[in-house]
Symmetry: C2
DNA sequence: CGCCCCATTGATCCGCTTCAATAGCTGTGG
DNA sequence: CCACAGCTATTGAAGCGGATCAATGGGGCG
């Protein structure tokens, strides 16, 4: 019988869910908050953990972080439980290494399918480890790249390094697309230029991000520009090379597909904001996004031109600066030269 | 030795390219415009055709159309040659059944790699036809779905039909995403709603389009709404079912990947316009896009609410209508009830 | 030390949204 | 078959938000 650890602060949800799981013939351990959860996880080593995100004492992210540091607990499948809220929270969790997540309220079928699929994955993984010592060697080649993390490793070992100075253009709109890039170090913007020469930044990319996808089967040239915002090192692999890899690694292909659709949603979010939001909102969410994304030091936007920030927001540089000044007067941020420090993150998020 | 037919009106380009190809040991036939090209193709049955898009007499699309109607010529690989121009033109060509395209100016390596890869595909195809009569039966199942067209057929035969009245919502933001949809008949919009309740249409989908992708490996809920604009029939297949199919059909997965990245570019284009274009431009390109996309009768926008059009453009309904009135006065369009008829398509495209 | 690029602030102007009122269309029920 | 309700299209007027042009201030790099 499989053991499941359920960490959830709301007693009602906790008990209902536990009951459900027991009916489904799992052994259930429960914890009312993160700290207890971590202790149980370490001592009992359950087969799977389901964990709420918003909790007092120690929240879900913290639990995941602690457990993923220890060898004994790091490979236990971890499923987040969250209210139907920001997509971003989810991605944050996934980036930290969660395996799946379920939104509250959920029905049984969702819950069980998530659990089963995660347990099944572990089973397959174990089997592979036991049966295939030979394969281990291939992992270093292109035989067995299951996840995007594997692909990143492959890039590090096999791709061509390409270093760029701040401001240098990586590709132009209309260039043939021959490479897929992974950022090794630095920040890159992809942008478009309209007929009047105004620049709009469509994506900001940092260490660990891929870019440069157009099409695998066709010779479609790039539809946008890419340039380094600061000194940057990229790893690039030819389109065809990557295609060969994908041909041998179906799971990876599906992961990349997900990566891309995630991307689509982010851009659509941007689209909505672009269409209807006030300059105040655009400004606020641009600095929030940038500081969150780049995160050298928390809550600070550093070393980026005002004009670049403005062209993420899609507004005039002067307007952007004016709004910054307003925010400063209102005590929401502090400006020190080129750096912007966020003082009141909550109020900034609530701006409309 | 393989024979290549080159159809190109510009004598310089034609001769240079022909020379290149001959050096590479192909037999080359040349034609100075579409009509000659079609004749040569029918009589000589080359192994591959390279054809310019913009030509006098009969343009590239026409050539492709004619040749794809005849059994003898329809399976000859067809590569378009085009100036580095609108992405859209390319997609148009691909939809009509071209196999690849090359942008001018090109270098030899591009040209040869395109040719080789197409010739290789044909070789594989032939081999399959000769060696595998058994497989033929499987094609009807889920064994061998190589292209998106195959997938569409599969949907028609296996997916659950779902009919909707105009205005009916297909899924809400926050809903769990369990299905992938193919539109059988009708028009669907996907849209987002901002905090003030304003609606922005992120995509318009018609017969033959897929939508509803979120993630294959995770339980990510929909991040937008989808609703029928007119009475619509969709075919839907569960996420897991599609995933199973993709697991068995790698080529199809790559095609879907391309389909999605194509999508990304379209949305980014929209983003740029949203950010910096005037209302006149937004209005013009909205009606152009809609009439082109929906194309019941050429150059007419029919049966769509003004408010829907305005929320593609991302502007107020009143502003949209006002701009329509202006266009009418300027003789660019004609308005008849809910219908909009485009009179001067060129001028409309040039609006800024 | 000086130049140049970038940040900042001011003033003006116009395009677009919003609110409001009216006209036109469509479908439903008596 | 007509009348009325409810929705959609259209036009008008007013007010404001943001772009643009222009000028000044500041900081880093050669």
């Amino acid at each position: 019988m499989k053991t499941i650890l359920l960490i959830e602060d709301d007693a009602v949800v906790r008990e209902n869910t536990a009951e459900l799981l027991e009916l489904a013939n799992y052994k259930v351990l429960t914890a009312a908050h993160g700290k207890i959860g971590v202790n149980i996880a370490k001592t009992q080593l359950p087969d799977l953990i389901i964990c709420d995100i918003m909790m007092p004492e120690l929240n879900g992210y913290g639990v995941l972080q602690i457990l993923s540091k220890e060898k004994a607990t790091q490979q236990i499948p971890f499923i987040f439980l969250s209210a139907k809220t920001e997509h971003k929270d989810v991605r944050k969790g996934m980036n930290m290494g969660a395996d799946d997540y379920i939104t509250k309220p959920f029905d049984e079928s969702e819950l069980f399918s998530a659990i089963e699929s995660r347990l099944a994955k572990v089973a397959i993984l174990n089997e592979n480890i036991h049966t295939s010592n030979k394969k281990e060697q291939i992992v270093a080649n292109e035989g067995e790249l299951k996840t995007i993390e594997h692909l990143k490793n492959y890039f590090i070992n096999n791709a061509e390094e390409h270093t760029l100075f701040a401001g240098e253009v990586i590709y132009h709109q209309g260039d043939n697309s021959n490479y897929i890039y992974l950022i090794n170090k630095g920040i890159v913007k992809t942008y478009k230029i309209d007929e009047q020469g105004k620049e709009l930044i469509t994506e900001l990319l940092k260490e660990g991000d891929f870019f440069g996808f157009t099409s695998f089967s066709l010779n479609i040239p790039h539809q946008e520009f890419a340039a380094a915002i600061e000194d940057t090192s990229t790893l690039r692999l030819s389109n065809n090379h990557l295609k060969t890899i994908l041909n041998n690694n179906h799971d990876l292909t599906l992961e990349l597909f997900d990566y891309l659709s995630d991307n689509v949603y982010e851009i659509k979010e941007h689209l909505l904001e672009m269409a209807y939001s006030s300059v105040r909102k655009k400004t606020a969410s641009t600095i929030l996004q940038f500081s969150e994304k780049i995160k050298k030091t928390p809550n600070i936007c550093v070393q980026i031109l005002r004009s670049d920030l403005a062209s993420i927001a899609g507004i005039a540089t002067e307007t952007f600066i004016r709004t910054l000044s307003d925010f400063k007067k209102e005590g929401l941020i502090d400006v020190d030269g080129r750096n912007i420090k966020i003082l009141n993150i909550e109020k900034l998020k609530r701006i409309n």
